[in-house]
């Protein structure tokens, strides 16, 4: 009960203190707001790069051309062998006969339709195929080689060379984006801690008096921590609005993709809500840590 009363008083004191020290509180809030907007932008960017990379990776397909003399029993054996390769996503494996491949191509293009129109079962030069997806794109080269070694497999194609380059580039972009988010969060922590330190520095006399009249460290620190938490919370309002409305507007204006339909943006819902929640949590935790660290410095009287 006693601890509960102390906590209630701390919340009350923490809130009142924001208004009592209005100018310094405003400085802390503005500092949080500006840095959190940067964090928000970096988070949105990195999440979209990540999403775009994953999408392209998901679309990567290995096409396996079978020997034209392969019997249906042999096709079944090849299918089993392919599905047994650890990196192959067996649920995504599609088998197409040469007749199905021909029909698909004819449907896609009028020229193909004309050229292939006269081909019958005997004269059709196309081959039966397996289209499959891999679980780990970085292992695609090894998986393709493994499939190539299966008996009655004629050719394996997956965009060799280009895929490796793209995967490498995406990994770098991802790393840079994550690094930027991390660096910005660290800068935010540093800036907020220092601004709150300034706020508390101006109140070190207050803290020393608290100590001298018998307040425990817990009683002294708690209102500052709660104050820091609220400063962070208030500071996150504008960044959250930027994410909620800014991202939705960007998405609507660009019709969901940047430059080309390949670069698709993440759909605003629920992405903007998750990002906003993360921003609020970051702001509150940083505010709390900043206050606790700054107050601790003056608790030695």
């Amino acid at each position: 009960m006693k601890a509960f009363r102390i906590l209630l008083r701390s919340i009350n004191d923490g809130l009142r203190s924001i208004f009592r020290n209005f100018s310094l509180s405003t400085a802390s809030i503005l500092c949080s707001t500006i840095t959190l907007i940067l964090v928000a932008v970096a988070m949105v960017l990195s999440a979209n790069v990540d999403n775009f990379t994953k999408k392209i990776e998901d679309d990567m397909t290995i096409v396996v051309f079978l020997d034209s003399k392969a019997t249906s029993e042999e096709v079944e054996i090849i299918r089993n062998k392919i599905d047994n390769i650890a990196n192959v996503d067996e649920d995504e494996t599609i088998y197409k006969t040469k007749a199905e491949v021909k029909m698909e191509m004819q449907n896609e293009s009028a020229i193909f339709n004309t050229v292939m129109g006269d081909w019958d079962e005997e004269t059709n030069p196309l081959k039966d195929t397996f289209q499959l997806k891999v679980k780990d794109i970085e292992q695609i080269n090894e998986t393709a080689k493994e499939i190539e070694n299966i008996d009655k497999v004629s050719t394996v194609r997956y965009g060799e060379g280009l895929v490796e380059k793209m995967v490498g580039a995406f990994k770098w972009i991802e790393r840079i984006a994550y690094g930027a988010v991390l660096a910005l969060i660290l800068v935010t922590i540093f800036l907020i801690i220092n601004t709150i330190k300034l706020t508390i520095f101006s109140r070190q006399r207050e803290i020393s008096i608290m100590r001298l009249v018998g307040a425990s460290n817990f009683v002294i620190k708690t209102p500052f921590i709660i104050e820091g938490m609220f400063l962070g919370l208030i500071g996150s309002i504008i960044p959250v609005l930027v994410v909620l409305f800014g991202y939705t507007t960007l998405y609507d204006m660009t019709h969901g993709y940047l430059f080309s339909p390949i670069i698709q943006l993440i759909k605003p819902t629920p992405f903007i809500y998750y990002t906003s929640a993360i921003l609020v949590v970051i702001a509150m935790i940083v505010g709390m840590i900043g206050s606790a660290r700054a107050a601790r410095k003056y608790l030695k009287v």
Partner: protein, 233 residues
């Protein structure tokens, strides 16, 4: 049973200055003791050790059964809740009302609202300032601010009141009023009072125990003592 026991106490600051050098002193419950001496004789360090703002370098300082040298920084509040401190510069929180300033130690301990109110009113009555309960410190005279400081020190019902030159910033008439308040607290509530002062008139008029320090050493300790003619303090 002595309430304060100081045994062979040395305090040497990091810069090499020796504030107390083998000091021995005992103060019983209910005593009113003046600590006097020239500037730099160690009297401020002595009382700072009583409320553990400073730790002795060597020796023992025991207050109400607590050995201050062994008290960890995070546990200092346990000692300070047992005593009241009156400062020369009052150390009031300017943004809090008289009520909130006096209530502050009780709120820090998580006391009930009704209990806080009753005890704050009682403490302000003790120092004759009940009518200023809603005022802010800057709306009060220096004498009144010092009385608020005494009320804050007494609100907890401490057994020991430590006064660090409480009349240092006050005119003689106001000083007299403050001393009357402290004397009343000592006589009526039996609170032990240890007071550092430079004020000869107060010491001579009050006729209490007087401890004289010189270069960190106790040189005289007299019941109903006075400033002597050769003491140019």
């Amino acid at each position: 049973m002595k309430f304060i026991k100081i045994e062979d106490c040395y305090k040497v600051y990091k810069n090499g200055v020796t504030a107390t050098a083998g000091l021995n002193l005992e103060i019983a419950k209910g005593e009113f003791v003046f600590i006097i001496g020239a500037t730099g004789c160690g009297k401020s360090t002595l009382i700072k050790m009583l409320y553990r703002e400073e730790k002795p370098t060597k020796g023992k300082v025991i207050v109400g059964g607590i050995d201050v040298a062994k008290l960890r920084n995070s546990k200092v509040y346990k000692l300070r809740r047992k005593l009241g401190i009156v400062f020369q510069d009052f150390k009031l929180l300017p943004k809090l009302t008289v009520y909130d300033n006096v209530a502050f130690p009780l709120n820090s301990m998580g006391a009930k609202k009704s209990e806080v109110k009753a005890r704050v009113v009682k403490a302000l009555e003790l120092v004759g300032l009940k009518e200023k309960i809603r005022s802010y410190p800057n709306e009060l005279s220096a004498g009144m601010q010092q009385r608020v400081c005494i009320a804050r020190a007494m609100v907890n019902g401490p057994k020991l009141l430590i006064c660090d030159e409480p009349t240092g910033n006050l005119d003689p008439e106001t000083s007299k009023e403050i001393m009357n308040v402290l004397d009343g607290i000592n006589k009526e509530l039996g609170t032990t009072i240890v007071m550092v002062t430079h004020d000869k008139d107060i010491v001579n008029r009050m006729k209490k125990r007087v401890v004289l320090l010189e270069n960190g050493v106790l040189v005289s300790d007299e019941l109903k003592g006075k400033y002597k003619a050769h003491e140019s303090i």
